[in-house]
Symmetry: C2
Subunit: 557 residues, 2 copies
């Protein structure tokens, strides 16, 4: 089958309409149109200036959603009717609305870095080219779709770095997210950044992300005792029926948990009966997925003993329990003590009753974030799975990424945006960008070139200069050269090029492998080393020539 | 026309489906159903425990959206098909999915405080009553719809308090919001909290919020000089035509702006020509809405003089310019200098040329937040309008509000949720809540009572007790008593009661008037005084009785 360039289905969120833009996009569009400059050929760079979370890397996310938006951009009759009745429109020429009606992204071309890849400040994430009016109209929506997506993917990748490869990371943030698609996007982009699953079913459905969940405190609270359980029978894996699972739980509770051979602190005198009933009813519903929340009353004195009673009963019926979840308290201490208790149970009851108990899963949740993970690593813990919500999805440490969208060329003339703050000066013109790798496989520098310069070549030295600081420069002889910009939208040729893989899976793998390639000091938590972003000698000279032309000479009198 | 109870249209965001929930809602639903306890009558409180932003008040928002969700809750065939194919479902009884198919919110009742009102920790925002399985299923979605809405409305109200009543506050945050409906919700709830408008057209359309916007730096950059202007003619208000507006601008520029009578620092020698061209083309497009961004090159040396040249030319044609926007630099200094220059222009050119210039609008944007407003008040400024984006919509100071949803009663039995942290202990049972007012009109305390207690009466003393600290109590003799909970959803009786006004306008007025009533020390920025939240003597005794029954006695050996 030959694949063809194609358009994409609509955005996942119905709010992402052609009107999801700032008002000034329409006022500017009108002024361009009125002035006859709307069709001029323009290029905008979408860039960010600073890595988030005091880090030195960012994960680029949101591209697929941007291309869905671009694929379907069109003002509807309702949009036009709304716009033409806005107070601002009273003085507008009505022909403008006819003009708006026929706009779409057919004349736009977009070059971009690939979704899920590791990216750095100043190197454009996207370059959007086309008629001035169209590339200006899509500004805000592209920013909205990239800013939060990249922020969350980066946050998730940072959590993965601290938690290590073997931990299971679950995104639990829907209830605290900034609105419904704050939640759904967080699930999607946290998965891209290296999480294993989400609690969010809608996100699970839309993006085929594994969904995880067991029970809440309210489930435990809703029970008072065994009298709350309707049917005590449990169907066994072999098809037979255990006629009274409650009795079995009772047996394990009385027989094993008060056994004299248990050390004092593992001999429980009184656990909470509503909790025991809740665990039992949950086991009857999910005998092969038995994982329960053990902190409703007291983790060590009630939750774990109750879990053991039900878990041992289940195991005696041929089901393997999965483990426990702790949602409060000192997660380091509690998880280590829990592991000890599981190990002791296995040691004491032996293979026939408790094999595998020592390795059961311990899930922890409760306000976990990157720093908490660091601290748990320092103090020791026995957690195998983390449920991370609020701080992951709202990005407490920095709730916004500052992507901007800047005009870099109009009618073939490169434009520069000046600023008192050197970091805010833009790099003018249409550029190419390459990542240069050393022999050991590590990327060492991203370099931007003017469009007419030859591509950097393997084993040929190239001078890489800091764009603004003249003394910072280095010759690099790359062992590998990677072109960073890819044509991702070509409106005149059908839309998305046939070979572009926009799947979440691919972006997720790209994220994980591009992080693995980095030198570890760029990734570390404290004082990471900045990765080098540079320009060619030719581009350096051009920037500074244009800068001097545009900047007024100060006069101090 | 007699109004009837009614259901509401769907949620504004298509992502707010019945599946927008945590997985554990479905696993718990299955366990309740399997266990035969799904139909038990339950009540959940939706509460928050701590006011955001180190403040002592919160604005409740999100209710209308919650009721839209409740009105339309129903699993679709696609939802059921997705759920029944999830890995967790492999062990489930298929009849469960038939059961899910027929669920809706007909048997639910919701009591709530009114949207836009000022609210305090521990007093429920909503109480959701009905069959256990249904009230459990809606948990996450209600939290998602209330948490961010209330956070942003509170943030906006705080900005309004600092900015004062006369300032125009505009929400400009779409591009930095946490996703598309992070942006749209921010516009909606910032307006509820006291903002005057938004830049977001989609929000403007959906919620009839005034939309504002002019032009971006890229508009200015896209011009190079007067050669970029197609048609130099300007239609005058009286219908006549000015044949060459460019020449008129040139005239004002050369004739007035270099006039010898201007003091040295107001005599400009060289302003940026691309900026002058951009302002001129914008004036041609929007002669009666002339407000431009003056900081692309240099506010004082180029932006304002260019604005004056075009603004004076416009005025000579019979149009009144609106003002300028400054998006960078020291907003205090620049706005004061700008005001001086406008005043001086008026003084010098007199009524015929520049009347009203001294009072022109000065809009400021650029990373403004509550603290910046405080600092501007301290240092002085001449800003009449603020465009506030990133920090308002992402709530930098605290990006999540911690609303929780807790079981308080099942089958008539009040339930308490214990915690090591006293602040996290829930107040059991179905409660009524009242706000008691003093003679001067100030609210003085919110008090919760058990359902069977008599309503507090005007001029009768009632003992109000802190729910947990026994020594904190006071007799209050209210001059006015306000019932806080209103029936907002009665599924068995058609849905939303006929007299409930859920409009954004009403919520916005309620927010502004309920803030005005508060004693100012509860509202202030530094060290505000906590507003009192209390329980009746009867409820106090009940809480502590239940607490002692449920809490295990520690044993220290």
């Amino acid at each position: 089958m030959t694949r063809r360039s194609h358009r994409l289905p609509p955005c996942h969120n119905s709010l992402t309409t052609a009107l999801l833009m700032d008002t000034y996009q329409i006022t500017m569009a009108y002024a361009y149109w009125k002035n006859g400059t709307h069709a001029r050929s323009a290029a905008f760079d979408l860039i960010f200036r600073k890595n988030p979370f005091s880090g030195e890397f960012t994960i680029f996310a949101g591209l697929e959603e941007c291309l869905r938006f671009i694929s379907n951009f069109k003002f509807t009759e309702e949009d036009i009717s709304f716009l033409s009745n806005e107070p601002l429109s009273t003085s507008m020429d009505v022909n403008f609305f006819k003009f708006l009606r026929q706009l779409d992204c057919t004349q736009i071309k977009i070059f971009a870095q690939l979704e899920g890849s590791i990216v750095f400040p100043r190197v454009p994430l996207m370059r959007v080219e086309g008629p001035l009016v169209m590339v200006q109209l899509v500004e805000t929506t592209l920013l909205t779709l990239v800013n939060y997506a990249s922020l969350v993917a980066t946050n998730a990748a940072r959590h993965r770095l601290v938690a290590g490869d073997s931990a299971t990371l679950l995104e639990f943030g829907l209830r605290r997210a900034q609105g419904p698609d704050g939640g759904v996007s967080a699930s999607r982009y946290a998965y891209m950044g290296g999480f294993n699953g989400t609690s969010n079913l809608e996100a699970g459905r839309q993006f085929a992300i594994p969904c995880k969940g067991t029970l809440a405190h309210s489930y435990v609270q809703s029970h008072q005792g065994f009298q709350d359980i309707g049917d005590p029978r449990l169907r066994l894996p072999d098809g037979n029926m255990c006629p009274d699972f409650l009795a079995l739980v009772g047996l394990f509770k009385s027989k094993w948990l008060y056994k004299e051979s248990f050390p004092d602190d593992l001999r429980w005198t009184k656990t909470n009966q509503s909790e025991l009933a809740a665990f039992t009813s949950y086991a009857l519903a999910f005998p092969s997925n038995f994982l329960v929340l053990v902190d409703t009353y007291d983790v060590l004195k009630s939750g774990i003993p109750n879990f053991l009673a039900v878990g041992l009963a289940l195991r005696s019926c041929g089901y393997e329990p999965l483990g426990i979840r702790i949602d409060s308290g000192d997660l380091s201490y509690l998880s280590l003590r829990a592991r000890e208790m599981l190990q002791h149970t296995q040691d004491l009851l032996g293979a026939s009753y408790a094999e595998g108990f020592a390795q059961l899963g311990i899930t922890a949740s409760n306000d976990i974030h990157e720093e908490v993970l660091h601290s748990l690593n320092q103090h020791g813990h026995a957690i195998t799975s983390f449920g991370i919500g609020t701080h992951l999805v709202t990005c407490l440490r920095q709730p916004a990424l500052g992507c901007v969208y800047k005009l870099v060329e109009i009618d073939g003339a490169p434009r520069i945006k000046l600023s008192e703050d050197v970091e805010k000066v833009t790099i003018p013109g249409r550029k190419e960008a390459f990542r240069l790798y050393l022999k050991n496989g590590e990327p060492v520098v991203d370099v931007m070139l003017q469009g007419d310069e030859p591509t950097p070549k393997v084993d040929c030295r190239i001078l890489c200069r800091h764009p603004f600081i003249s003394s910072k420069r280095a010759y690099v002889q790359p062992a590998r050269v990677e072109r960073l910009f890819h044509l991702v939208w070509d409106g005149m040729n059908g839309g998305v090029p046939p070979d572009l893989d926009l799947s979440l899976c691919t972006a997720r793998s790209r994220c994980m492998s591009s992080i693995k390639m980095m030198r570890s000091d760029h990734l570390r938590y404290s004082n990471p080393t900045p990765y080098k972003v540079s320009v060619s000698e030719q581009l350096y000279d051009f920037i500074h020539k244009l800068w001097l032309e545009e900047a007024p000479v100060g006069e101090i009198m």
